[in-house]
């Protein structure tokens, strides 16, 4: 957080600045475009660039990973009265059938689909691909999208957010300027909307410095997924629980897998595990590889070819982990960054879109003549509208589900069932959430059963990082704030946890240290949940996802 430092004529001034070209940020940009079209005087007042969207990935969608089965509700509201047809939205088709299975290492038992997981009316999509379509829409509405641009610092004067400072480019390993050094710029705006997604860098700063943190700390899960070309079409959306996760309470392995058809010749398969697990040997990437060896899954992939891989964290704290306020003078928080994810339903995209839309409306209202968005409370209408929206209603109803699973799968399942039946009334209060980093670690021989990569069905981490399109330059500064002199257990935890093999435990004469290879990093955010801190590296680096 800092005050603007560029001389005024060097600063770039925009009307509304949106950080992040994901579903929340782009929905915000689209809605603003709609409002400005109806209000040309406002567009004039916002200057040459009324709406700008900063994106740290090489292009829109480059850093987006999700399942995804999308609830069209958010998009319908965004395009209400504008004749949006479902066929206009890039998707892989409506969900026609779905099944939930409980897996053991040998079998797959079909269990009734929990009501929170029903997907009637929803469609399968690649979030990366969907965002490119949203970006086109946003640009058609006048937004300027700036990829390869990382927002490094929040610019504030007093308590008022006035914009962001973008990251420097062309720095060497030790932070020294290289031949093509290009300093970042101050981008100032009347309203700044943070739509950074999970583990948002500036969002974290804002929550902390503006006292916005909710009653319970946020907790995260790590998702690792692959996209496959397949020989036989998959006819249904599948979710699994159980194997390869261990249900015993001491392990705290909460999560499951998803397998979604993508048209007739592709599917996506992913593993999601809460980061409050306790076994240092747990590796979500390797659990995914192991999952694929199950008879039930292997059959689906036979004759196929892996064409995509990605990893990202998902905020799982739900209702109790939401910030206590979603705005500050000149600032709005949206999407996954604010924690709008419904864990039992595995949905967050439509909430992101709705929150982006509501943020646009609040910003627009606060920019009307005679009003200023930076007076305290000027943007409070955003909080009100979110509280009245389906985002809040849904999250409140399922508020204790995730926390119940800390008690183990069977117990958690029973409790979750009771919660669903009672529409959130059981238990009457909120269950505690413990920060992921505070769990007591154990060590088992879990890694013994991870399959050795065969390059056809199962793959190692490095070839997966390669498939993500990651070509980050090796001489860039290390963007991960982490101590390398940690106890062996923590080092081991990180080594297994990281899907991109960024951390490796090295022995140096009896002492263990952690070696960090930041250029492998796919910016999933897991390290921030477990004792380190991910900051945005040079804009344009990291993965280049296209079908995730």
């Amino acid at each position: 957080m800092a005050a603007p430092s560029d001389p005024p004529e060097e600063r770039i001034d925009v009307g509304v600045l949106i950080v992040g070209a994901g579903p929340a940020g782009l929905a915000c940009a689209i809605r603003l475009g709609q409002l400005l079209e109806e209000s040309p005087e406002m567009a004039e007042r916002l200057g040459e660039v009324p709406v700008a969207v900063l994106e740290k990935g090489k292009s829109v969608g480059a850093h987006l990973v999700s399942g995804a089965v999308v609830n069209p509700r958010g998009l319908r509201r965004l395009y209400r009265g504008r004749g949006l047809r479902i066929e206009d939205i890039p998707s892989y088709g409506a969900v026609e059938h779905e099944s939930v299975y409980y897996l053991t290492n040998r079998s797959a038992l079909r269990i009734p689909t929990p009501p929170t997981m029903r997907n009637d009316g929803n469609f399968v999509a690649s979030l990366s691909q969907l965002s490119r379509w949203l970006a086109e829409q946003a640009e058609a509405g006048g937004a300027v999208i700036l990829p390869e641009t990382a927002a490094q610092k929040l610019l504030v004067t007093g308590a008022r957010t006035v914009g962001v400072r973008t990251g420097d480019k062309g720095l060497g390993k030790d932070g020294e300027p290289l031949g093509n050094f290009e300093p970042g710029s101050d981008v100032t705006a009347k309203v700044t909307v943070l739509a950074e997604g999970t583990q948002g860098h500036l969002t974290g700063v804002a929550l902390d410095r503006f006292g916005l943190v909710g009653e319970d700390p946020q907790v995260w899960a790590l998702g690792v997924k692959e996209v496959w070309k397949v020989a036989r079409p998959l006819d249904r959306v599948i979710h699994t629980m159980g194997w390869p996760l261990r249900g015993g309470r001491r392990y705290r392995e909460f999560g499951g897998s998803f397998i979604y058809p993508m048209g007739d010749d592709m599917l996506t398969i992913g593993m999601v595990v809460g980061l409050d697990y306790r076994d240092v040997e747990l590796s979500v990437h390797d659990l995914l590889q192991e999952l694929k060896t199950h008879r039930f899954v292997r059959r689906m992939l036979e004759g196929g070819e892996r064409i995509g891989w990605g990893a990202k964290t998902i905020p799982e704290g739900g209702f109790v982990a939401l910030p206590r306020r979603l705005h500050a003078p000149g600032l709005l928080l949206t999407g996954d960054g604010a924690g709008f994810v419904n864990v039992p339903a595995l949905k967050g995209i439509h909430y992101a879109i709705e929150s982006g839309r509501l943020a646009a409306e609040a910003a627009f209202a606060a920019l009307q003549p005679g009003r200023t968005p930076w007076t305290p409370g000027a943007l409070a209408s955003y909080d009100d509208s979110v509280r009245r929206s389906f985002i809040h209603k849904d999250l409140e109803q399922v508020r204790n589900m995730r926390q119940a699973f800390a008690h183990g799968f069977l117990m958690g399942g029973a409790m979750a069932g009771a919660m669903t039946m009672s529409f959130g009334k059981f238990p009457p209060t909120n269950m505690d959430t413990h920060p992921d980093a505070a769990v007591r670690l154990i060590r088992t021989r879990r890694s013994a059963s991870y399959p050795a990569p065969d390059g056809k069905l199962t793959f190692d981490k490095l070839s997966s990082v390669y498939l993500s399109g990651n070509k980050t330059r090796d001489d860039a500064p290390n963007h991960i704030r982490v101590r390398t002199d940690v106890p062996a257990g923590v080092g081991r935890l990180w080594e297994r946890m990281c899907p991109a093999q960024v951390y490796e435990v090295a022995e140096d004469g009896g002492e263990t240290t952690v070696e960090v290879t930041p250029s492998n990093c796919v910016q999933c955010g897991a390290i921030t949940a477990k004792g380190g801190r991910l900051t945005p590296p040079e804009g344009g680096s990291g993965p280049e996802y296209t079908v995730t």
Partner: protein, 319 residues
């Protein structure tokens, strides 16, 4: 088929890759002629007969003294038109690529490059070439004549057929613009070893070396083999060797005739930088290292023992 092969020369000798293309052309059949362009090169021309040319055309002109492409385009364009060649082949080099491209524009003729084989298929000439980082092989053809082909250097080996070639001089009309570029100073053989991009042999070191001092083993083997030294990302990151020698996705891509990988695991980030090498030899003490899946000769053992012995044997062999 009436084929003309461009015979590049350097310091008084016809280049081996060019002679290799000539031998291949002879194998494909039809009339095969060579062309030698330069100043004071008539003697060179006759030697081409031994490699399959029935005739060698020579243009011995001061304008052709320096290895510049454009005067050569003038020479070849005229020759091809006058003699009616339907196929013109080049062994790829910095010079010949420019000549072939210029000729393609001059004659409006199709040019296929980076060919690694030429075959006759159903009475037509088909070229074969790798594409997309060597992940797919493509059959390419030509529409119309003459057909121009640039063959990857070193694809074909010269075969002596012991024939004799008739040598014929021909005249060249030079365009004004072709004589615009002039050679101020010509390259001379470098005293140090080749750069890794040009090297025929590369010896590379990875983390398995154990310490930066052990790069000495790599350097000595490279020297014995007359090759260059390369390094993996991991050791460059650790500061053991300079970034300029890094081979891999975020470093250089190389395709030498021989690549010796010492203590390198073979992660894909490294593999994509060297997978097109002719012969890959890997020495690693880990039998499960991924490099053993794509090398030609995999040696499971201690490189600290094997590499010095290897260096010694190579030196003995060469002396």
């Amino acid at each position: 088929m009436a084929t003309l092969v461009f015979l590049e020369h350097h310091e008084g000798e016809l280049l081996k890759p060019a002679l290799g293309v000539l031998s291949k052309a002879a194998e494909l059949g039809g009339d095969v002629a060579g062309v030698v362009l330069g100043s004071g090169v008539r003697d060179l021309a006759a030697t081409a007969g031994a490699y399959g040319a029935s005739k060698v055309y020579v243009a011995d002109k001061p304008e052709l003294e320096k290895p510049l492409p454009q005067p050569r385009v003038d020479a070849l364009a005229g020759l091809v038109r006058d003699q009616g060649f339907d196929t013109v082949l080049f062994a790829a080099s910095v010079l010949s690529a420019d000549v072939a491209a210029g000729l393609s524009a001059r004659l409006g003729a199709g040019l296929n490059w980076d060919l690694t084989d030429l075959v006759q298929q159903d009475g037509t000439l088909i070229g074969k070439r790798p594409a997309l980082g060597d992940t797919v092989y493509v059959d390419v053809g030509w529409n119309g004549e003459p057909r121009l082909g640039l063959i990857r250097a070193g694809t074909f080996d010269p075969k002596e057929s012991g024939g004799e070639a008739e040598v014929e001089d021909f005249d060249v009309g030079f365009e004004d613009f072709s004589l615009g570029a002039t050679m101020v100073e010509q390259a001379h053989a470098e005293s140090e070893g080749p750069s890794i991009e040009d090297a025929d042999v590369i010896v590379a070191g990875g983390r398995g070396l154990g310490s930066p001092d052990n790069f000495k083993l790599v350097e000595e083997l490279a020297q014995a083999l007359g090759g260059a030294v390369a390094a993996t990302r991991a050791v460059v990151d650790a500061g053991w060797y300079p970034y300029a020698t890094q081979v891999g996705q975020t470093g250089k891509t190389v395709a030498p005739k021989l690549y010796v990988a010492c203590g390198i695991s073979g992660a894909i980030q490294h593999k994509v930088g060297m997978q097109s090498s002719g012969v890959i030899v890997a020495i690693n003490k880990d039998p499960n290292a991924p490099i053993f899946d794509f090398c030609d000769l995999g040696v499971v053992g201690d490189l600290h023992e094997i590499v010095p012995k290897l260096t010694e044997l190579v030196r003995q062999r060469k002396s």
